[in-house]
């Protein structure tokens, strides 16, 4: 009996080893292999907005570079030591790894998910517009970037494309997207957090973005800029703040404005407003001052010296308006568009109106947008220091200062515009390890993983240095 049992046991053990197909164990029961296309769009919009809005010292430190904020204790980033915390890698990764692939996946799945041709076209166009915008930040930050070979896992070491070539392609894609948008058809509906799927709004957004991208070329290639800008304006850009592209955050984590996470939830006191902007706004009696900053212990507005550590509480703090959990993020707004139009007029582009008119509209929209009144805006604009007719400096300086004030909560955009307009004048931080960055060096990971292409790219733009100016930054 025992023998039989023993043989049976052995037989069972053996037979269990030559039957089933084991590789079915590779099917992960906890994660899906399929998902709806629109769910990727929602996620991409949120991730894109997060990086633009972020106030993290590990990610978005542009507010420090343009001297909106200073640091209380750890002043490395204010002094342009951005390598220690891997800033160059982090901001690159967020766009390439978190934003662009989700949009790419949405584009891939939309034709399968959306049978209606018009809706399908609208959705594809919107996803592509967001990709164009995401690339806009990369190309204006690093210079030459992987583009034609990007987002392809079969090209693990993509080559870098010339920045201007990339830019031209982005403009071409944008034109195609604008042409594809059909305002008579729907798009993403509620899955689109920015516009609720309103295609007319997206069309204005795309043209406003085109205006923005055209203006970037104004110094380096005025003729192209003129063509692009005039076409964009003719097609219809933002005409009021109601057109703004906003991302309305929610009041509870994890879908809050990241500024709230970084400044409030963290319970840390890493940042204070910088004296550069505080002093400027106080000097101009700016009605937005109380929207941007709290009062310091003496009842005045003051800021920390850029590059120095500052005792938190001894100067103004960032206003609670901005650090509210559900404070919206901004992709693009009407005031910004009017600033571009004022500048376009000064550059002789045919966009209608006078520079002063556009400038006044821009400043007014900004002040009203921050909670001020039209009367406050008018009084502000009537001051000789602010009045476009009498304000000091060239048009670039007049527009540059006001645009810099307007973009207070949008550090990345402000840094791009500051480099383009070369105004306002900023002094390097007190303990700076370099000049004020004119671009970001390439990520440490690219240097180590994609070395040959990295070295070519660095050589092509004149070296991988922080002070190298990019192709559109002539002055």
């Amino acid at each position: 009996m025992k023998k039989i049992l023993f043989i049976l046991a052995g037989a069972v053990m053996l037979s269990s080893s030559c039957t089933r197909d084991l590789t079915r164990l590779n099917n992960d029961p906890k994660n899906p292999t399929d998902a709806k296309s629109f769910t990727f769009l929602t996620n991409a919009e949120r991730r894109f907005s997060n990086v633009l809005a972020s106030g993290s010292q590990n990610l978005n430190v542009f507010r420090l570079i343009v001297q909106y904020w200073g640091q209380t204790t750890y002043t490395e980033e204010s002094n342009y030591d951005l390598a220690t915390r891997g800033i160059y890698d982090n901001i690159w990764d967020v766009i390439y790894r978190d934003v662009l692939p989700d949009l790419e996946e949405a584009k891939k799945l939309i034709p399968r998910d959306v049978p209606d041709q018009d809706i399908q076209k609208n959705q594809l166009a919107i996803a592509d517009i967001l990709q164009v915008y995401a690339y806009y930040y990369l190309v204006t930050t690093y210079g030459n970037i992987p583009y034609s070979e990007a987002l392809d896992h079969n090209k693990p070491f993509p080559k870098y494309d010339d920045a201007r070539t990339v830019y031209n392609d982005l403009l071409a894609r944008l034109d195609a997207d604008i042409a594809a948008l059909n305002t008579n058809a729907a798009s993403f509906g509620n899955a689109d957090i920015v516009y609720g799927g309103n295609v007319a709004n997206w069309k204005k957004f795309a043209n406003s973005l085109k205006l923005k991208m055209g203006m970037l070329l104004a110094d380096s290639d005025a003729a192209s800029a003129k063509t692009i800008v005039e076409a964009a304006v003719a097609a219809g850009v933002f005409t009021s703040s109601a057109d703004n592209a906003m991302f309305q955050y929610l009041s509870s984590p994890p879908n809050t404005n990241p500024i709230w996470v970084d400044l409030v939830q963290s319970n840390r006191d890493d940042f204070v407003p910088a004296s550069t902007i505080v002093d400027k706004m106080v000097g101009l009696n700016d009605p937005r001052t109380d929207d941007y900053f709290t009062l310091d212990p003496t009842g005045n507005y003051s800021g920390g010296v850029p590059g120095d550590g500052t005792v938190y509480g001894s100067v103004s703090a960032v206003s609670p308006t901005i650090t509210t959990a559900d404070f919206p993020g901004v992709f693009l707004d009407y005031a910004e568009v009017e600033f571009f139009l004022a500048e376009a007029v000064e550059r002789g582009f045919n966009v209608g109106g006078t520079a002063q008119e556009h400038y006044d509209k821009a400043v007014t929209a900004s002040i009203v947008g921050w909670g001020g009144t039209a009367a406050e805006a008018a009084a502000y604009l009537a001051q000789p220091e602010v009045d476009y007719a009498t304000a000091p400096g060239t048009y670039k300086e007049k527009i540059g200062v006001q645009k810099w004030i307007h973009l207070y909560n949008r550090g990345w955009d402000s840094w791009i515009e500051w480099r383009r307009l070369d105004a306002p004048h900023l002094d390097p931080a007190t303990n700076a390890v370099s000049g004020i960055p004119m671009r970001y060096p390439y990520p440490v990971k690219e240097q180590n993983v994609n070395r040959l292409n990295y070295e070519q790219a660095a050589a092509a733009i004149g070296g991988d240095e922080v002070e190298i100016k990019l192709f559109w930054d002539k002055f």
Binding site: G10, M13, C18, T39, T73, E105, R268, P441
Partner: protein, 1080 residues
């Protein structure tokens, strides 16, 4: 199925054969005639084994014409016929190159039949020095084995044999307990998060081999090369650590072991602080008083402003200490403090953070009962271990229960079973890595961010007064509100924000051995290893950061089914044949859930998911099964006990590879030539053997890297969200075309003993090449992924291992033995996929990375470097500060040691023995984030003191302060520019990464052991006792030499491939253990 039919036929064909049995008795002695206790007597070719008693006597029931193999620790084995005169079996002492019984699936081989490198040490040796994890006791005792363990309580152990083979996969050696693979991975995979391994903070939860009961270990055999491990399949490709547990000897015995261990911090591995300057970030930060070094507030309400220490800061580049200066410090702001609203002299804290550490105390109690008779044996053991660490509120408790038994059901059938339970409860394990915002690793604070004016004992008193977070570091805007800024009171951290964990583990097996004839037996075995684990992490309300609770629940189960046919046949006088045919089915199933609260906690001190301030987010879930089905055959052919040919072949079918690519074969061939058999007349040569072998080992892939899945992201309001990557921090692209990876290796060895075993060595050269490695290759993130799984590389390891032993003195009462283990491994990345030249293994804070680059060793450290002049000097800029490369891809270090080794000297005088082990690691580099930030913040002595002019170096330049950095200008002329010595001067943002690379060499007095066995004459009078051993042991007593300042170069972030980076390192602990072992 053919194989099955064959086996069954074979089985049936010989079922009826019978043999006669008889019982023989004997005594084992050494050359001096003294009894050799506890020798193992094996009936050759069977699993019939008994153990001799303490007096050397044994009795065994064997078949007619049986041959007996007698082996004992420290002796050369002999084989005799059962019909010989056994009354005085003499074993020759072989102090170092001991008996080797390799029991791969029950395959016993004598030393002469062994054609590959194996090294064995007795269980005595691993258990006599009590440590909480017996694996670390192997360090320095086995050549080629590199063991690293962090200094945290219960830290995981990195066990690497012959270098890193798999570039990013598992390189840990396989543990096999009584023939059954034993999971050791837990500390290095799921519960140890990637954040922890890349130094971003977290806990090291140890590895599961620490669950093994050291008192139950009879011997540890280390099989180093692939040839030795081919039978274990891909798991064995990193070498195998075979653990044989104890078996009972005849009669009934009780062993009681009781010990206590005391540990103290080795201060040479902890910072020595400067005592001249207090809190601040001068000159980067300017404060409020006229000197700009203090806050300036009216604290006492007298209308004038008072000096207040910059309590919000966590560096020590502040005002110079001056006992006459009265300053309000952190303790002036807590109503419970005796110094409430009182200023005190501005001086250095009387007690450094080193006083934070307590005396570690461990107790170990175990009782073992065993018994055996002709029919079988059993053992039952219980061990309890209480380890209290040097960090307050840290404790690990282990309860280990062991049961094993074997019974001879009939003359042909032996049934055996073992079941083991281990219960591990941990509390307050130490945080690791850079944990600035998490605050869990206090070493991050003590080594990088600290005010030297703070007295740690006052922090202790402050916490215990009201058990509140009365921290030294709080926000300055309203100091009386005392809101913690970056760091909590260290005692709050350990008493409120502690983790707890528990693991209940059951492992065991049932087996049946059927001895068909004296040369053929069958074994069937089923082994199960099963554990449940719960890890809970807390951050209390009132701490810095967001209060939280995280729980991690995991169950793991591994089942191994083995069926073996074992042939052991002496074909003729000259030929001996051993053969094995078997199957192995291994199944693993891991399930885990990680859930955490969202946005804070509601009620203090309640740690439950329901106490989450916001609705909790989707927990992370994992459910993975893997299976490998193997069929293998092995044969060992021996001619005249002199020439041996050993061959194995295995076929695996693995579940983790894609269909079509998941079947792979791997063979091995080994030969051995015992040339001393031809030179029996040469008295000087007692043993000599040459070995040569070649093997190939295949390996499968990690789980779930074949098919892509999407991540489900918590919805945005009611809008569902999906992501291509990034869920659970996974940014890898999977690959449906993976193939198995292969390691091909060859090995040559020479083993010689001279002068009757008084001098001997074992020398091995090996060369192993792993090809088609399955790697998550770091790719440009512009692809949308951080890495992609590919068959991607080839890495070569070659090296030399040398074990030497000698007995300079050997008399009747006194002996002195020396044992040396030395090994050198050189590894090189030969090739990466598609022309890639570098593989990024990990990126760390500070902008450094650890890499595998083609043509270079695995584990180069890259980062920014100094710029050097042609004359070799470092170049400084016009501002007098070092210039740094703008790129961060310079090779600035190599984490691999040049060689490692250990020397054990042991002395025996009558019943006394004394041994000490010196452990050496030569070379290898380490990047220290502790120095990177700690030097920046002015914590260390080098940042203060006098300059070349004899003035305080931190004084303003106008007052003769400042320093001149050694170096030259661009033109090669010596630097003469004096720079201000302030925040950052010696640290992070004023210096390239290369400034913080240190040599990780060390020479350590690892172990000192004194043992005393009470004389038999005395013990016998006590009647009840058979023997009593008393031992006093010390571990890590003295770091004789090291180059890494203020730290232990051995401390790491945990096990795994990313070594060579230190952040928030723990000091090493000197331990002394007193142990009594009594056998009744």
């Amino acid at each position: 199925m053919k194989k099955l039919s064959f086996l069954l036929a074979l089985l049936l064909a010989v079922l009826t054969m019978q043999a006669q049995e008889r019982t023989v008795k004997g005594t084992v002695k050494d050359a001096q005639g003294a009894a050799v206790g506890y020798a193992t007597i094996t009936e050759v070719g069977t699993n019939n084994v008994v153990q001799a008693a303490a007096d050397g006597t044994f009795s065994i029931t064997v078949k007619e014409n049986a041959r007996l193999s007698i082996t004992a620790t420290g002796m050369l084995p002999v084989t005799v016929s059962a019909s010989d005169d056994l009354s005085s079996l003499v074993l020759q002492r072989n102090d170092q190159l001991q008996e080797v019984v390799v029991s791969a699936f029950g395959l016993n081989r004598q030393r002469n039949q062994l054609a590959y490198s194996a090294q064995k040490i007795s269980g005595e040796e691993v258990s006599k020095t009590r440590t909480s994890n017996f694996i670390q006791n192997l360090s320095g005792k086995i050549s080629g084995l590199d063991i690293k363990q962090g200094n945290t309580l219960g830290a995981s152990t990195n066990v690497i044999m012959r270098g890193i083979k798999s570039i990013t996969g598992n390189n840990q050696a396989l543990f096999v307990v009584d023939g059954v693979p034993y999971n050791n991975a837990s500390g290095t995979t799921a519960s140890q998060t990637s954040a922890q391994r890349t130094a971003a903070g977290g806990y090291d939860y140890g590895n599961a081999a620490a669950d093994l009961n050291p008192d139950d270990i009879a011997s540890v055999t280390v099989l180093k090369g692939a040839a030795a491990s081919a039978l274990y399949g891909s798991q064995g490709s990193n070498g195998v650590i075979l653990i044989t547990t104890k078996r009972a000897s005849k009669g009934f015995g009780v062993t009681i072991n009781t010990g206590v261990t005391v540990g103290r911090v080795d201060k040479s591995t902890f910072p020595k602080y400067q005592k001249e300057y207090g809190a601040g970030y001068s000159p980067v930060a300017v404060y409020e008083d006229p000197s700009r070094l203090f806050l300036y507030r009216d604290i006492n309400g007298d209308g004038t402003l008072d000096l207040v220490a910059p309590v919000q800061e966590d560096a020590s580049y502040g005002a110079r200490f001056d006992p006459n200066l009265m300053v309000y410090q952190w303790d002036a702001f807590y109503p419970s403090s005796p110094n409430y609203r009182k200023p005190r002299p501005w001086v250095a804290g009387a007690n450094d953070p080193v006083e934070f550490f307590e005396t570690a105390l461990s107790s170990n109690q175990s009782v073992f009962i065993d018994g055996a008779n002709d029919k079988g044996w059993f053992k039952l053991g219980y061990t309890r271990n209480d380890d209290k660490g040097i960090q307050p509120n840290s404790k690990i408790t282990k309860n280990l229960v062991t049961f094993g038994a074997s019974y001879r059901v009939s003359d042909k059938l032996v049934a055996g079973a073992s079941i083991n339970y281990s219960g591990i409860d941990g509390r307050g394990r130490y945080g690791t890595g850079y944990d600035g915002s998490g605050g869990r690793n206090l070493m991050t604070s003590f080594r990088q961010w600290w005010q030297v004016n703070v007295d740690i004992k006052e922090q202790k008193e402050a916490y215990w007064r009201e058990r509140r977070n009365e921290t030294w570091n709080f926000k300055a805007n309203n100091p009386f509100a005392v809101v913690p800024n970056y760091w909590d009171n260290p005692y709050w951290t350990v008493y409120k924000n502690y983790e707890t964990d528990s693991r209940d583990r059951y492992y065991g097996n049932v087996n049946l051995v059927y001895e068909l004839t004296d040369w053929l037996s069958f074994t069937g075995r089923m082994a199960v290893d099963n554990f449940n684990e719960l890890i809970e992490e807390r951050r209390a309300i009132g701490s810095t950061g967001v209060a939280s609770y995280t729980r991690f629940d995991r169950t793991y189960r591994e089942t191994n089914l083995d069926f073996l046919a074992n042939v052991n046949k002496t074909i003729s006088e000259d030929f001996d044949f051993k053969g094995l045919l078997g199957t192995n089915v291994r199944k693993q199933h891991t399930v885990y859930t990680r859930a955490r609260t969202n946005g804070g906690l509601i009620v203090p001190d309640v740690y439950a998911l329901s106490n989450s301030l916001n609705a909790i987010l989707t927990p992370e879930e994992f459910d993975g099964r893997r299976e490998v089905q193997g069929v293998f055959a092995a044969t060992t052919l021996t001619w005249r006990n002199m020439l041996v040919l050993d061959a194995t072949i295995r076929r695996d079918v693995a579940s983790t590879l894609p269909k079509g690519n998941n079947v792979y074969y791997y063979p091995s061939v080994s030969t051995g030539f015992v040339f001393s058999e031809l030179m029996k007349s040469a008295n000087w040569l007692s043993y000599g053997k040459l070995r040569l072998n070649y093997a190939q080992v295949g390996a499968d892939a990690p789980l779930y890297i074949v098919k892509d899945v999407y991540g489900v992201v918590s919805p945005f309001g009611s809008n569902p969200q999906s992501a291509v990557t990034g869920v659970n921090n996974n940014y890898s692209k999977n690959n449906p075309d993976l193939r198995p990876e292969l390691t091909r290796s060859w090995e040559a060895g020479l083993e010689m003993n001279f002068l009757r075993g008084r001098l001997g060595f074992d020398l091995t050269y090996y060369n192993a090449k792993t090809i088609n490695q399955i790697l998550p290759v770091a790719v440009s993130t512009a692809t949308g992924y951080e890495s992609k799984y590919l068959n991607a590389g080839s890495i070569e390891n070659k090296g030399i291992e040398l074990s030497m032993n000698g007995s300079p003195v050997r008399t009747k009462n006194f002996s002195w033995n020396v044992m040396v283990n030395w090994s050198k491994n050189k590894n090189k990345v030969v090739e990466l996929f598609e022309g890639a030249e570098n593989l990024l293994l990990g990126e760390f804070q500070g902008g450094v990375s650890i890499n595998a680059t083609v043509g270079q060793p695995y584990g180069t450290i890259r980062g920014s470097d100094f710029i050097y002049h042609a004359n070799g000097q470092k170049i400084v800029g016009a501002n007098g500060r070092y210039r740094s490369t703008s790129n961060s891809n310079n090779v600035i270090g190599n984490t691999n040691p040049n060689w490692i080794g250990g020397i054990t000297n042991s002395f025996q005088y009558k019943n006394f023995s004394l041994s000490f082990l010196v452990d050496v690691r030569k070379g290898g580099d380490i990047f220290s984030l502790d120095m990177y930030y700690g030097m920046s913040g002015g914590l260390y002595r080098e940042t203060a003191g006098l300059n070349d002019l004899g003035n305080p170096s931190r004084a303003p330049l106008a007052e003769g302060g400042g320093i001149i950095l050694p170096g030259v200008y661009e033109d090669g002329k010596p630097n003469t520019t004096r720079v201000l010595n302030g925040y950052g001067t010696y640290g992070d943002f004023r210096n390239p990464n290369a400034a913080f690379i240190y040599d990780a060499s060390y020479v350590k007095l690892r172990e000192v052991a004194i043992n005393y066995s009470l004389p038999a004459s005395f013990v016998n009078k006590l009647k009840a006792f058979k023997n009593i051993d008393i031992s006093l042991n010390g571990r890590n007593l003295w770091i004789i030499h090291k180059n890494l300042p203020y730290s232990d170069p051995e401390d790491n972030l945990g096990s795994g491939n990313l070594q060579g980076y230190q952040s928030g390192a723990y000091p090493s602990v000197r331990t002394v253990n007193f142990n009594i072992k009594m056998r009744f």
